[in-house]
Amino acid sequence: MSDTDTAKCKGNRQAQTVGSGTALPAEDGVEAALVGWLKQTLDKRVFDAVLVPVEVPAGDSFAYLLLRDPAILDNASPLPPVMPIQGGKVISRLTMRGNGNQQPEAARIAAVVRPCEARAAVELAKLQQAHLDNLYLITIDCPGVLPLSDYIEDPAAGAARFAQAAAQRDRSPMRPTCQMCNHFSMLPAPISDLHVATLCSDGTLSIVPGSPEGARVLEEMDMPVETSLDGWAAQVEAMEQAQTERRQQAHAELRQTVAGADRLLDVFSSCINCHNCQRVCPICYCRQCYFESDALKLPPENYMARAERKGALRFSPDTLLFHIGRALHMILSCVSCGACEDACPMDIPVGQVFSLLADRAQETLGYVAGERLDEALPLVTYEMEELGHVEQPYVAIYREQEVQDA
């Protein structure tokens, strides 16, 4: 599947206007309503399979299941209190090899994910690590997720804490990156085919089409798109504005704690080089990471010489190189999901630092990760006239000046 094919299938999602949706009865809560709706889609064969988080048998976490049996959906949890594995990674795993022999009747799969997971999936599709044709991204207004370690300590209490915080729209118990997330919904640009609007001011629940494909699904389900969403849009806009302010403030504070060699090395001083941040990162898709490759395995003389020059050499000797280098490789596609921070055994605020780096780097190159499928990745394209500040102006008389000085 080529670039152009992908673009053709899913078009420019921004073309779809977000004005109205279709109401979904929500007496038993968002999750039950959505599960009921998904069951109907399976029954009507609108979707052949659904990818959705389901509670694991021990009841202490959730895992993505690809399922076609509606009975299994009873244990499904479209909006679980944690994100044990980034959904973008799951979608990539499922679709990375594409649709083998291009069957004409390929199964239609609905993937119920959070907005940051959908954005990661979009980035992965651009990186040729996922194929989104025949895959329908369904997102939900996201209240954030709890840090995994908090939840696993006591799943029941965690679930209760999450439910309460979600109801009160309180992000304080959530992951630090969720606390400062300003991409928790589908505005300003739709990133998914269908979006479940839960933040309506009157407490109702609506499904909003985000793409022509999504609209067609609602048609097939005989669900007329006629409910006005003005109240929801205003609500989301206000919240996004507040969250953006919060994000900027958090980033400003964060920069105070990380900027400069000393502070930066303090922040990463307890890193144990497990590279788990890279392992769970949806964007870090390389089979063989540069930082685990032979490029960093050096003969002992090299390590000894460096140790002698500095008096000591931290071992493994590439902690900072790993973090900065990893950022260089993936930061332009970073969706600030916080999976890295969640998986860090040393509680290093790596997700927060990366979200700061991502915002600044993406701003420099005029790009927002995961927003548009038809936009080229910033490092595979360029403009003739841009980034003039990078170039060092040449002072022709430099040498002569110095000769005169001498």
């Binding site: 399979a49 389901v54 694991v56 048998p57 021990a58 202490d60 976490s61 895992a63 993505y64 299941l65 690809l66 399922l67 076609r68 049996d69 009975a71 044990p84 594995i85 799951v90 795993r93 499922l94 649709n99 083998g100 022999n101 069957q103 199964a107 995994l148 370690s149 696993i152 300590e153 000393d262 090395l265 303090d266 001083s269 307890s270 890193c271 144990i272 080089n273 497990c274 590279h275 788990n276 392992r279 769970v280 089979r287 063989q288 032979d294 395995k297 003969p299 002992p300 003389e301 390590y303 140790a307 000591a312 050499l313 931290r314 071992f315 493994s316 998986a343 055994p345 040393m346 509680d347």
Partner: protein, 373 residues
């Protein structure tokens, strides 16, 4: 030919002075041991020290800190992977780290040449959480008190409490810690090898009282039986059967951190990261025809069983896997338990003898008749 050396100085001081004098006298060019990183609020990491000042009283080195940010066996392997060291270094490591390194040398992932191996009778280490929340320093008094009594502090890792291999094998120098009285004021070093004796021989500033000794004291024997009981209890906690494994690994987030930090899992490209584990969409559709649903990615129990098949014979039970697990899965308990049974099957102890072939690289002509139909 084990020889004892008694010093009338605290253990910490003795080891620091030993390492400093080794560096100052240029008997070694570097010392691999734990040290502080970053500033005041910094962390702890292994470092290769070349400056003797690191071992002064205010130095950043922390050779006896009960903490394991990485298995040093893996680090020594990385240091000597390309070729053996051309100049001598000393490495202060724990018994399990030493065993891991010996295993890695057997697996052609490192070289013992030019490394003076210093280890200690091990009182266990604290979990990584303790280092992450910064409470390591305050726990040290109770840790050393427990060690002097041959006990283990309640908060050290469960793997350590159940570890029956706390007396180092193959160390050139062993620092006696467990069950030694008054570690603040005196310390005994055992020189186990000719190499160890040569390095220490005639070092300045060491007030030596030769004391021939044996580590197999009554107290050490008691610790063995205590830990064995602890191990039985821990192994009994393992939830067995397929349902048990699914319950245990259900919350696995497939990050494979257990594999990344495992010193024995040295493969550059793990099978579970290989193309074999990537499937076309048709595969998943085919599976869905046969069953109602499947987990994606679907290799939690499979991954762990596969990893057991690949490395359990060499598992040294260091506990790193449990320590890093973001989902708090007791990986190491399962691996130690399976490791113990596989190792018993071949009468093999990882890290015991560098000349001994790993069990799956060799065979006997007549053996294991029970497994053949």
């Amino acid at each position: 030919m084990r020889k004892g050396l008694r010093f009338n100085k605290g253990a910490e001081e003795t080891v620091r002075e030993l390492l400093r004098s080794l560096l100052e006298s240029a008997r070694v060019s570097g010392v691999l041991t734990l040290g502080r990183t970053g500033g005041a609020d910094g962390g702890v990491a292994y470092s290769l020290f070349t400056d003797p000042d690191a071992f002064g009283t205010d130095g950043v080195a922390l050779p006896l800190l009960p903490f394991m940010p990485a298995n040093a066996g893996g680090l020594l392997s990385r240091l000597t992977l390309k070729r053996p060291l051309s100049e001598p270094i000393a490495a202060v490591v724990r018994p399990c780290e030493l065993r891991a390194f010996i295993e890695l040398v057997k697996l052609n992932q490192g070289s013992l040449d030019n490394i003076l191996l210093i280890s200690s009778t091990c009182g266990g280490v604290y979990p990584l959480d303790v280092g992450a929340n910064g409470s390591l320093q305050e726990r040290l008094p109770q840790y050393w008190e427990a060690v002097e009594q041959g006990e283990l502090d309640d908060d050290v890792r469960s793997t350590c409490r159940a570890c029956g291999s706390f007396v180092p094998e193959n160390a050139d120098i062993t620092i006696a810690l467990l069950g030694e009285t008054d570690l603040e004021a005196q310390c005994t070093l055992y020189l186990n090898t000719e190499k160890g004796a040569t390095f220490v021989d005639g070092l300045e500033g060491a007030e030596e009282t030769p004391m021939p000794g044996d580590l197999e004291t009554e107290l050490i024997q008691r610790v063995y039986s205590q830990r064995a009981a602890c191990q039985d209890a821990l192994f009994a906690e393992v939830d067995v059967g397929l349902k048990g494994l699914i319950d245990t690994f259900g919350r696995c987030i497939s990050c494979q951190a257990c594999k990344t930090v495992c010193p024995i899992c040295y493969c550059r490209l793990c099978y579970f990261d290989s193309q074999d584990c990537e499937r076309p969409l048709e595969f998943y559709q085919g599976e869905l025809k046969r069953k109602g649903g499947l987990r994606v990615p679907s290799d939690t129990v499979f991954f762990q069983l596969g990893r057991l098949a690949h490395m359990s014979a060499s598992c040294v039970g260091c506990g790193m896997c449990t320590d890093v697990c973001p989902a708090d899965i007791p990986v190491s308990t399962i691996f130690s338990k399976v490791g113990a049974s596989v190792q018993a099957l071949f009468d093999y102890q990882p890290g015991r003898d560098v000349e001994e072939e790993p069990p799956l690289r060799t065979f006997e002509a007549e053996e294991l008749a029970q497994v053949v139909m």
